[in-house]
């Protein structure tokens, strides 16, 4: 059965955690010289399979061959150890070391070996140059901790490319990348597979990317392969969504200026958010959705200003009757300005605290609670059921939930508080299509209730679909254009952000 030609060949993989069967006979095979999209909803068993492939988790049953040899034998195990490189969604970089050290250090296996700094710089440079020559030239000696998230991601991909791996496993690699950077990455991947016959597994929730870069796809659903090695061109978007078991997500009407007239009209005459000092005035009314587009530098600085996390010299904001902006996140939250981050580990989730504390964290501050009241349990229950989150108990830790569900939980913090403004920083990062739809719906409901929404996304389709107004930022972090209503198209966005694909 096993095709000798496959780099990776997994057949009938099973895995259970206690009574939960995560994988029930999953097949997955990758041939050299292809970009293979691996798709599936949150909780379908995608990450478990990837962990089994990467030897992080042991499988319960099934066969797993690497380069024609079973990984249970020394030959296969060695082939896997040599030939597999993984870029995780959660970055595995060493912030205190330089870019060159980050790329080269993993290749030193003996602690007593001398670290050849020049050779390391050279190889690091050549690896980085595969992705971005400019970046390569100025970044090799910088500390990785000083880089932005997307630059760190590039370092990690460069490391994987450099390792001489034959199978490259990219787990949502574009999450931290801007549209332009993603395009460059795809070009690199296409060139690599055609020139070097390596295999690439590409995990993504973004339909457009899959179409752009992948040759074949495998879709996992409920622990088995719903589609096994099918060319992407043979499937329509609707097919893919349906095969992932998220057909209902598509039947929902897309948004964008479809608010009931009465609701939107009610807020037009009550401007809530004014931003001055960007070069042109920005003003959005209550209940409007303001999108931020572009490389992280600009949007992130503006977001930090809006939520009181850091000042931005020269820029003045006025939120309702609060003229000077906020001096601290605490002041902002007390004034009912909420913040939701897609960077859950660092800026969102309190991972050591149970679900209930996470959900009610903002409410406790807004309402200036002193005691943890008995009513909170009921509030937590109602929020969980409103979001149709299946949690074993709200006393469980958030890590018992999938990433997408955790994200809904963070948004839920603000759900019943009727915030004046909600600032979202890539809230759909690493979230599957079905959950994305849920999140869009939540945001729309809040906007209809009069909350001003500020939404930064690197996914342009998202901005086009949801926003009333979009503020574009160039690669240098400066605001470039303000687009309204029908002006918001992917072409105009690309132009505004200086990232014409």
């Amino acid at each position: 059965m096993a095709d000798k030609g496959f780099l990776l060949d997994a057949r009938g993989i099973t895995k259970s955690y206690g009574p939960t069967h995560v994988l029930r006979g999953m097949d997955f095979a990758v041939a050299p010289g292809e970009v293979h999209a691996f798709l599936g909803g949150n909780g379908a068993g995608k990450s478990t399979l990837l962990k089994i492939v990467a030897d992080v988790v042991n499988r319960d049953g099934g066969t797993l061959n690497f380069d024609g040899h079973s990984v249970d034998e020394p030959q296969g195990a060695a082939a896997r150890a040599r030939g597999l490189a993984i870029v995780h969604q959660e970055l595995a970089v060493l912030p205190h070391l330089t870019v060159a050290e980050n790329i080269e250090l993993p290749h030193y296996h003996r602690g007593l070996a001398l670290f050849d700094r020049r050779a390391a710089d050279r190889t690091a440079l050549s690896a980085l140059a595969l992705i971005d020559r400019d970046f390569a030239e100025h970044a090799a000696h910088r500390l990785v901790g000083d880089l932005s998230l997307h630059e760190q991601q590039m370092v990690e991909i460069a490391r994987a490319l450099k390792s001489g791996a034959r199978l490259l496993l990219l787990d949502e690699p574009t999450t931290n990348l801007t549209a332009g950077e993603a395009q460059r990455l795809f070009a690199v991947l296409r060139r690599l597979v055609s020139e070097t016959e390596i295999g690439v597994v590409f995990v993504s929730h973004r339909m457009r990317e899959i179409r752009q870069v992948a040759d074949v796809c495998t879709i996992i659903r409920d622990g088995v392969a719903a589609v096994h090695r099918k060319p992407v061109t043979e499937l329509t978007d609707a097919d893919i969504v349906e095969l992932m078991g998220q057909a209902s997500a598509l039947t929902e009407t897309p948004v964008g200026g479809e608010l009931p007239a009465a609701v939107s009209a009610a807020h037009v005459d009550a401007p809530r958010l004014k931003i001055e000092g960007l070069g042109f005035p920005v003003e959005v009314g209550g209940g409007a959705i303001l999108g931020l587009a572009g490389a992280p530098a600009g949007p992130q600085a503006l977001i930090d200003l809006l939520i009181g996390a850091a000042p931005l010299p020269g820029v003045v904001i006025r939120i309702g009757d609060h003229p000077q902006g906020y001096r601290s996140p605490r002041e902002a939250v007390r004034d009912k300005v909420g913040f939701v981050s897609g960077d859950r580990a660092n800026r969102g989730m309190l991972s050591a605290l149970p679900i209930i504390d996470n959900m009610l964290a903002s409410r406790r501050i807004v309402e200036r609670r002193v005691l943890v009241s008995g009513k909170e349990a009921a509030q937590a229950r109602s929020l969980l059921s409103a979001l149709s989150i299946k949690a074993s108990s709200y006393w469980a830790l958030p890590s018992s939930l999938s990433g997408g569900t955790q994200q809904k939980l963070i948004i839920a913090r603000w759900l019943q508080l009727q915030p004046r403004m909600l600032v979202l920083e890539e809230p759909t990062r690493g979230v599957d299509i079905g959950t994305k739809r849920d999140i869009y719906a939540l945001i729309r409901v809040m906007a209809q209730a009069g909350t001003t929404i500020v939404w930064w996304s690197t996914e342009q389709t998202e901005l086009v679909e949801l926003c009333d107004t979009v503020l574009g930022f160039g690669p240098d972090g400066r605001a470039t254009q303000l687009l309204h209503g029908a002006e918001i198209t992917e072409e105009r966005l690309a132009e505004a952000t200086g990232m014409a694909a």
Binding site: P329, L350, L353, D357, V372, S393
Partner: protein, 313 residues
């Protein structure tokens, strides 16, 4: 009920271990189970429990307080000196407690507002307070001549309950209540879980972090005045061994030095465990040099149990 069981899993395991240890000791040395010995254990563990509760709060925020032992010593010397200089016992006690507030405040200020690492800051105050403890009396230990001062420790505000037991129980219950049911208590955990996320959520990170260091210093001072009252004597080296014991107690009680977890009941049980071991080693008549090894092993076992029970979830 189930929730209580599952959220106090570690604490229950330690409580069971203490009971088992005590019963085993009872078989070897029948006197170990007498009321007198149990009350000795309570008396001996009281200062450590109080100190551990303070350290716990700091540890939950992801910090560490190495200065508590020295604050304990210095508080004793200041209180003793004040009483020997003719101040009445109430004023002297307040002066002693002020030592904890001041040093805790210095710790909190340097950690929170200057942004220095807690380990470094409390290492500094540890050294300074320890040397001040000798400087204030030139190294002499001080007898306490006020015959009634022992009442602070051994008297009874509630008939039948010695004060040291009362103080411990009240402090532990109040702390546990604050940690579980008061919003500020949840914030302590939130800061330990992710400082950055906590700040963006609008939690007053600075205020809470500063406060835990002050409370930690105050607890160490309070433990010290109780101890001084008990032994009618203040010594410059009194707290030297206690800093590591307090941290050990907190860790045995299930707190993680990375922050975000731990409970006051755990700290209480951890401190009791350490005292029970000391008591057991003495009663059986094992060379007391073994005490450290036994305590070390118990910490290892406690941490392993905690790890295994968490891995199962």
């Amino acid at each position: 009920m189930m929730r209580i069981f599952s959220s106090y899993r570690t604490e229950i395991a330690i409580a069971v271990a203490i009971v088992v240890l005590e019963l085993a000791l009872g078989i070897l040395v029948p006197n170990a189970l007498t009321f007198g010995n149990i009350s000795d254990i309570a008396q001996a563990s009281a200062p450590l429990i109080i100190m551990a509760v303070g350290v716990l709060l700091v540890v939950i925020t992801g910090g560490i307080d190495l200065s508590v032992g020295s604050i304990f010593s210095l508080t004793g010397m200041v209180t003793g000196l004040a009483m020997n200089s003719g101040y009445n016992s109430v004023l002297s006690t307040i002066l002693g407690l002020l030592v904890g507030v001041v040093f805790g405040g210095i710790n909190g200020f340097l950690v929170t507002f200057v942004g220095l690492a807690p380990f470094v800051v409390t290492l500094i105050t540890y050294a300074v307070a320890a040397s001040l403890a000798f400087i204030v009396t030139n190294g002499h230990s001080l007898p306490i001549n006020d015959q009634n001062y022992y009442l602070l420790n051994g008297g009874t505000l509630i008939p039948g309950v010695p004060n040291f037991v009362l103080f411990c129980v009240v402090l532990v219950i109040v702390t546990e209540f604050v940690l579980r049911r008061v919003v500020a208590g949840r914030w302590v955990y939130a800061i330990g879980s992710s400082t950055n996320a906590a700040r963006l959520l609008g939690i007053p990170v600075h205020r809470i972090r500063f406060s835990v260091y002050v409370v930690s210093g105050l607890c160490a001072s309070f433990a010290s005045v109780l101890s001084v009252s008990y032994i009618s004597n203040a010594e410059g080296t009194a707290g030297e061994a206690m800093m590591l014991q307090a941290i050990a107690a907190v860790v045995i009680g299930g707190a993680s030095l990375f922050g975000g977890t731990g409970s006051a009941f755990g700290a209480l049980l951890g401190a009791l465990m350490i005292t029970v071991i000391q008591n057991g080693v003495n009663l059986i008549g094992i060379n007391s040099f073994w005490q450290g090894s036994v305590t070390g092993l118990v910490i290892l076992v406690a941490v392993l149990i905690d790890r295994v029970s968490k891995a199962r979830r």
